[in-house]
């Protein structure tokens, strides 16, 4: 019995002590006590993560939260700051969120560089009224009802991010005030994308705005440090799409990045740093990202390769591919692993893509055309090589042949043109380019280079003859001088 009384007393003392000195400021925070009676923000603040960690209103607004005298509590002498405005809002947040020791005090392991990132971001640099930056912490996180990012009630919870960003970015009137040329249909497009549709279904894993653009450190797409700058896009997408574990529920391959990096597009973008080369979004779209369907592939590729697409559309292959439901460009060129289009793709060899469908016994006409086209391009290459060899030979012999060398560029141009013309799959059109434009140039260059080399030897032989004539003349003159001097010596003696 004695023990029961002792335990009961101990429980009452501890409970009282907790109520009086506990972390929840409700009991001792005079600000909260008054404002709770007024309703509004205090109700929101009750759900706030800060409130739950024991941070009082004075944490952001200053003043003495322990004083029940309103005038004393909200006096400037005790550090009352009132409602923070403009850039002061973010600074007030950073008062704790930029200090590691302060964050640790409340048991938080959040990063402490948010304000730094925000300042460097496009939101932290731009201002519409010249007084304050466009975005403050509360713009996305709210003010009095801030909850953890992992909490579905948070405006920055993955499922809520598109609407949070859309508050401004889908508001044409607001966006006009600082960037009238920026589109305002991102959220609408996003909702049509695979990412957006899954997000709308309540799957927090697919990419939302912050997954690609970042959260605090969002930069303009033209900024080389932006996660969505052309050169950085493949890596940004690959963060999820190359993670087999993360993607395991979606039943799509995770080797796109590895294949793209090996492709002609990937090398141009990632190795040569050519920002005009296509990245993932060039074919899949960005906000409305979705895999292009069989029918739309040639349109997607055709946005850059317009001539090829046009020629293909009017070629006999168009109907055949449609009939077989073959993806147009992809059938021969692959999708992510697009290799440079060499002549090896053309013809009827084992490695040639034509031989996938055309053989000596099946689709014979196409087989013969492919074989002939390959022989034209082979002839042009052989002829160009010979012309170059002869030009180099003539140059090494010191002959002036720059005009021919310049002219030979047209053969290279014809080769490039042939790469496009091959999409017509017309032997005559292909011949007109390769033979008419290419071989005619190489043949003329070969003739001129040979003439230059011949001229070189003509010069040598000409020199030999002239040196001989001049030497003979010199010798004759020498003999004449000797004869005169002999006569003079005889006449003197």
């Amino acid at each position: 019995m004695k023990n029961i009384i002792f335990l009961t007393c101990t429980f009452l003392v501890l409970t009282t002590s907790f109520v009086l000195n506990g972390k929840t400021p409700e009991s001792s925070d005079q600000c909260f006590i008054c404002h709770e009676q007024l309703g509004g923000v205090a109700d929101q603040f009750k759900k706030d993560v800060h409130f739950q960690k024991g941070i009082s209103c004075a944490g952001c607004h200053g003043g003495d939260s322990k004083s029940d005298d309103m005038e004393k509590a909200m006096s400037k002498s005790v550090g009352f700051l009132g409602i923070p405005k403009g850039d002061d809002i973010s600074l007030r947040c950073a008062n704790c969120h930029a200090k590691k020791e302060m964050m640790q005090k409340y048991g938080s392991h959040l990063p402490t560089n948010q304000l730094e990132l925000l300042k460097a971001s496009v939101h932290g640099k731009l201002s519409t009224n010249g007084k304050e930056k466009i975005v403050q912490c509360i713009t996305c996180h709210n003010a009095h009802g801030i909850v953890s990012v992992k909490n579905p009630a948070s405006p920055v919870y993955p499922l809520n991010v598109p609407n949070t960003c859309g508050k401004c970015h889908s508001n044409a009137k607001f966006m006009q005030t600082y960037n009238p040329s920026l589109a305002v249909d991102q959220v609408a497009k996003y909702r049509t994308s695979v990412h957006g549709m899954l997000n709308a279904k309540g799957d927090p894993k697919p990419a939302e705005c912050a997954s690609c653009h970042g959260s605090h450190g969002i930069r303009a797409t033209k900024d080389t440090k932006s996660q969505v700058y052309a050169l950085n896009i493949p890596e940004t997408c690959s963060k999820c799409h190359s993670d087999a574990l993360y993607m395991s529920g979606y039943k799509i391959p995770t080797d796109q990045y590895a294949k793209f990096a090996k492709s002609v597009h990937g090398k141009a973008l990632l190795e040569k740093h050519d920002a005009s080369a296509p990245a993932c979004n060039s074919c899949h779209g960005n906000h409305g990202a979705t895999p292009p369907g069989v029918e739309s592939i040639s349109k997607v590729c055709g946005t850059c390769h317009a001539l090829n697409a046009d020629l293909f559309s009017s070629s006999p292959h168009k109907q055949a591919f449609d009939k077989e439901k073959l993806p147009e460009c992809e059938t021969c060129h692959n999708n992510h692993e697009i290799m440079p289009a060499t002549k090896a793709m053309l013809g009827v060899d084992k490695d040639a893509v034509c031989s996938k469908c055309h053989t000596e016994t099946k689709s014979t006409k196409g087989y013969l055309v492919a074989k002939q086209m390959r022989s034209y391009i082979d002839s042009l290459e052989t002829s160009e090589e010979l012309a170059l060899k002869l030009i180099n030979d003539a140059e090494q012999k010191g002959m002036e042949i720059s005009e021919t060398k310049f002219k030979l560029r047209d053969a290279h141009q014809a080769k490039l043109e042939a790469r496009t013309m091959v999409h017509s799959f017309s032997e005559q059109k292909f011949k007109d380019v390769v033979v008419g434009k290419g071989l005619s140039v190489t043949s003329a260059s070969i003739v001129e280079a040979k003439e230059a080399v011949d001229n070189y030897f003509f010069r040598r032989y000409g020199l030999l003859v002239s040196v001989l004539i001049i030497s003979l003349l010199s010798f004759a003159l020498y003999l004449y001088i000797k004869q005169i001097e002999k006569k003079q010596a005889e006449s003197r003696s």
Binding site: G398, E400, I401, S402, E403, R459, R460, G462, L463, S466, V467, I470, S471, L473, S474, L477, Y478, Y480, I481, I484, E485, Q488
Partner: protein
């Protein structure tokens, strides 16, 4: 054939009294001694000058001065015009050989002290022709309007511009403006084909007239020899024919050089392009160019480069008037100091040229 020549000669003699000229030349004698070989370099220089005039006129038929046409016209000459490559290559090689022959001629006259009274003016006119020859080289270098020529002219005119007071006006005069542009090309073309040849022809005429009037200089030791021991040869026909023989040999040399080492063209000048690496002037300017590199940035209150240019200017001026300050030689005495200075100058030029070449 002999009869035709005789009739032609008689026809001209009847009208021009050629016999008097032949008689005059026949009476002229050239001293024969161990250093007689040097007498021929004056004639060799003259030969190269004649070659320059002939090939220069032929090039003028096709050359078009102007930044849009100059390079292309030279390209045309080198690739399309029959023997155009040969004419241009001979023009280029003869220019270099002219300077070389003239420098050898000048030093032979210097070491023989042939500039002494009464041949002071012959020396001065000869030196003027050497300077004009360098002017020909500098002005002709830009005419192909290629990368190397463009930047070499820029550097060369910049150096001239560094001379205090008169440098900037000289640079503007050379360039036809503050920068090397099409105006510079037009100007240097004018200098190369009209102004310099005109002056050169007058000075050359005076030089040859003085030689004919005063005869070939004898070495100093000849003056003390008795007339019987003075070995000579008639200027005509002996010396003239030997000169002609040497000219034929030089023609052979020119043909060989032009065929084996034809003139190059390079890339067209681009004012916005960067200067080609290791840009150097023509070999006869190289010793001066290299020397200027060794001057410190400042010597007392004067810039090193300016000091170098002034020193070279003073040295050339002293060299030009050597007959007037070498009084000892004028008195008929041996002046070894002059010989030592000459040896030093030759060594200096050779060493600095080599250093400039390998740098």
């Amino acid at each position: 054939m002999k009869k035709i020549f005789k009739n032609a000669y008689d026809y001209l003699d009847e009208r021009l009294h050629l016999e008097d000229l032949v008689h005059f030349m026949g009476k002229k004698y050239v001293p024969v001694h161990s250093h007689s070989i040097w007498y021929y370099f004056g004639g060799v220089s003259l030969f190269f000058f004649v070659v320059q005039v002939v090939t220069g006129i032929l090039l003028l038929f096709y050359y078009k001065a102007g930044p849009d046409l100059a390079f292309e016209s030279i390209q045309y000459i080198m690739s399309k015009v029959q023997f155009g490559w040969l004419i241009r290559s001979i023009h280029g090689w003869a220019a270099n050989l002219f300077i070389l022959a003239a420098v050898i001629h000048m030093f032979s006259v210097y070491f023989e002290k042939a500039y002494r009274k009464p041949r002071e003016l012959t020396w001065v006119t000869g030196m003027l022709m050497l300077f004009l020859g360098m002017g020909f080289g500098f002005s002709g270098y830009l005419l192909p309007w290629n990368e190397l020529a463009f930047f070499a002219t820029k550097v060369g005119s910049d150096i001239a511009g560094a001379v205090p007071i008169i440098g900037e006006p000289i640079k503007i005069l050379m360039r036809g403006g503050p920068d090397v542009t099409g105006a510079t090309l037009s100007r240097l073309f004018g200098f190369h084909v009209a102004l310099f040849p005109g002056i050169f022809t007058v000075v050359l005429g005076i030089h040859l007239l003085l030689i004919q009037r005063q005869g070939i200089s004898e070495p100093m030791h000849f003056e003390h020899l008795p007339p019987k021991e003075k070995k000579t040869m008639p200027f005509f026909p002996n010396f003239i024919l030997r000169d002609l023989l040497l000219w034929l040999m030089m023609l052979n040399l020119l043909a060989i050089l032009a065929v084996f080492f034809p003139a190059e063209l390079g890339h067209k000048a681009d004012a916005f392009g960067s200067a080609p690496a290791g840009i150097k002037p023509e070999w006869y300017f190289l010793f001066m160019f290299q020397s200027l590199k060794y001057f410190p940035a400042h010597v007392l209150f004067i810039e090193g480069e300016v000091l170098g240019i002034l020193l070279f200017g003073a040295a050339f001026a002293l060299w030009l008037i050597v007959p007037f300050w070498d009084r000892k030689t004028a008195r008929g005495e041996q002046n070894k100091l002059i010989t030592y200075i000459g040896i030093f100058v030759i060594m200096f030029i050779i060493v600095l040229t080599i250093l400039g070449w390998v740098a």
